[in-house]
């Protein structure tokens, strides 16, 4: 299988010969068949493909949320071995995922500020002092373009675009080395899409972060990413 050209260093998120199939009523359905993909630590890679080609499955596997049937995920040179047992939080923190549909990706009973801080809470990273917490929150809300008065609201009280901004802040707050965006903006209008992508880009300017953009928008992939991989019928084409 061909892979994307990548610098010959260890600092990358790599999928090596990943296969995954699901059991459904119609029998086994192959989602991924021996797929390899490489995400350099500073790159912007687009993953294109028609619906049902396994894009999201690959995204979930790369963000260490789904165990592949065969093949390995290699994070900065170290293969991820322990899927079922508790992966060390420090490892899981390295890759964060932004989901396609923000309404389904958040707990409707949590306020926006709890949602944004949740990954830090899981990692035991939330600042104890209230003032520090407010600074951290303020910094990230500003970077993704949210306003402070939204922080006390619930998800159903804000728009889809604002909620997706909160989801982006939630992913970036633990400073992941790799960010995976699954159809980040397919439901959003162009201006919101542009401002979310600009926020990701300015985060990349501040520090090293690899971004995998799963999308079906070829024009966006061509203009925003520096390399493109195409999935078709469970295999990587280019």
């Amino acid at each position: 299988m061909a892979t994307i050209t990548a610098p010959a260093v260890f600092c990358m998120l790599k999928a090596n010969g990943i296969s995954k199939r699901y059991w459904t009523r119609k029998g086994w359905v192959t989602a991924l068949d021996n797929v390899s993909l490489c995400l350099p630590e500073t790159g912007r890679v687009a993953l294109l493909g028609p619906s049902g080609s396994g894009k999201s499955t690959l995204g979930k596997i790369l963000s260490l949320l789904l165990r592949p049937d065969s093949g390995t995920v290699v994070l900065d040179g170290a293969p991820v071995l322990r899927w079922r047992t508790k992966t060390p939080p420090a490892l899981r923190r390295q890759v964060q995922l932004v989901w396609q549909s923000p309404r389904l990706a958040v707990d409707p009973r949590m306020r926006i500020k709890q949602i944004i801080l949740e990954p830090m809470a899981v990692q035991n990273l939330v600042p104890v002092k209230r003032a520090e917490r407010a600074t951290v929150l303020g910094r990230w809300t500003e970077r993704v373009g949210l306003t402070d008065e939204l922080l006390d609201r619930y998800p159903h009280e804000i728009s889809e675009g604002q909620l997706q901004r909160a989801c982006l802040a939630r992913a970036l707050i633990v400073q992941p080395r790799y960010l995976i965006c699954d159809e980040l903006s397919s439901m959003l209008d162009v201006s919101t899409q542009a401002s979310l992508l600009a926020a990701i880009r300015s985060e990349q300017d501040r520090r090293k972060m690899g971004v995998l953009l799963i999308t079906h928008d070829r024009i966006l992939a061509m203009h925003w990413c520096d390399s493109i991989a195409t999935l078709s019928l469970s295999r990587i084409l280019i």
Binding site: P50, S51, G145, T147, S159, E160, G161, Q162, L188, D189, V190, S191, T192, Q193, A194, S195, L197, A198, H216, D217, R218, I219, L220, M222, H223, W224
Partner: protein, 318 residues
């Protein structure tokens, strides 16, 4: 020639627990037979409410002002019975989110035949019309009429509701986001289908947030922002040189034009300012933008108008 659809001074408000939401403000538009109008705008700008108002499908907490005339007949004051017959004979709606528009417990064939019957076709005519309509969108009557909605993919559901526009002879077809969930090649197919319906003499109102789809349709563009129709222009002119600063901002936000976002975020519809609604985010605003709400000024003839003081007489003479 008198326009088929004439909407003038249309304002819609909703009373909600959060206050009064202004969903449409002073919307003015006309469509002639055989014309295609594409209403574009971001979510929450009032596009879908416009379609629902024309169909009189608004909930009870709404207040409607203004006039909607179809073929000279005022729709807003029609009796419910008369409205029902207009809906079935003269109008066709391709609803948003087909997944919720199709009844999950009835077979696709039954659902489609019900629509054909409402449009005044006999069972035989209906089946023929539907078979032709489904053929237009690349589906077969025999293969899907016995299926249920959940057995179809999102793209197929969308094509099923798109086929409804081909049944009978509606004068006005309103398509609300007809490309949601469709792949690129199916979007192109939808463009071709809508152009064919237009070729049969029907007027079409397309509602979308997808600028590239709007451009491919090649009709008149109506740009909406925060309940106002802020620009109306022929497609070619709009995508080459939009007149309203919001239109310019939108095009620049496309990745192929640099992907520069418009600063700020959309205004809340519960707290619309009485001045220009875009003034807060506008890069070429003037002091007077915060004092007055501009009407539609002609930019270049009757076909190209924009709701911006840049095109007021007084500003042009300077």
């Amino acid at each position: 020639m008198a326009p088929l659809l004439q909407v003038s001074g249309l304002s819609v408000r909703f009373r909600t627990p959060y206050g009064i939401v202004r969903a449409l403000s002073d919307v003015q538009l006309t469509i002639h037979s055989g014309e295609l109008l594409v209403v574009v705008g971001e979510s929450g700008s009032g596009k879908t409410v416009l379609a629902d108002t024309i169909f009189r499908l608004l909930p009870l907490n709404s207040e409607v002002r203004g006039s909607v005339r179809l073929d000279g007949k005022e729709l807003l004051t029609l009796s419910p019975d008369a409205m029902r017959s207009v809906r079935s004979r003269s109008l066709a709606l391709i609803p948003q989110s087909p997944g919720t528009a199709l009844n999950p417990v009835r077979r696709i064939g039954t659902l489609l035949l019900e629509v054909a019957r409402a449009r005044g076709l006999s069972a035989k005519e209906g089946e023929e019309g539907l078979a032709r309509g489904l053929d237009e969108v690349g589906l077969g009557w025999d293969s899907i009429s016995r299926m249920y909605a959940h057995q179809l993919s999102g793209g197929m559901q969308q094509r099923v509701v798109n086929a409804l526009a081909f049944v009978g002879t509606p004068d006005l077809v309103i398509a609300d986001e007809p490309t949601s969930g469709l792949e690129d090649d199916l979007v192109d197919a939808t463009v071709a289908q809508l152009k064919r319906i237009r070729g049969r003499g029907a007027a079409i109102l397309v509602i979308t947030h997808d600028l590239r789809f709007a451009q491919k349709l090649d009709g008149q563009i109506g740009l909406m922002y925060a309940s106002y129709l802020v620009e109306s222009a022929p497609s070619g002119i709009f995508f080459a040189l939009p007149a309203h600063p919001y239109g310019r901002g939108l095009l620049q936000a496309l990745p192929e034009h640099g992907g520069i976002p418009i600063p700020g975020s959309p205004v809340e519809l519960t707290a619309l300012p009485s001045c220009c609604v875009f003034a807060e985010r506008c890069s070429v605003r003037k002091p007077r933008c915060f004092r007055e709400s501009p009407p539609m000024y002609p930019v270049d003839g009757d076909n190209h108008r924009a709701r911006c003081v840049l095109y007021a007489e007084s500003e042009r003479n300077q």
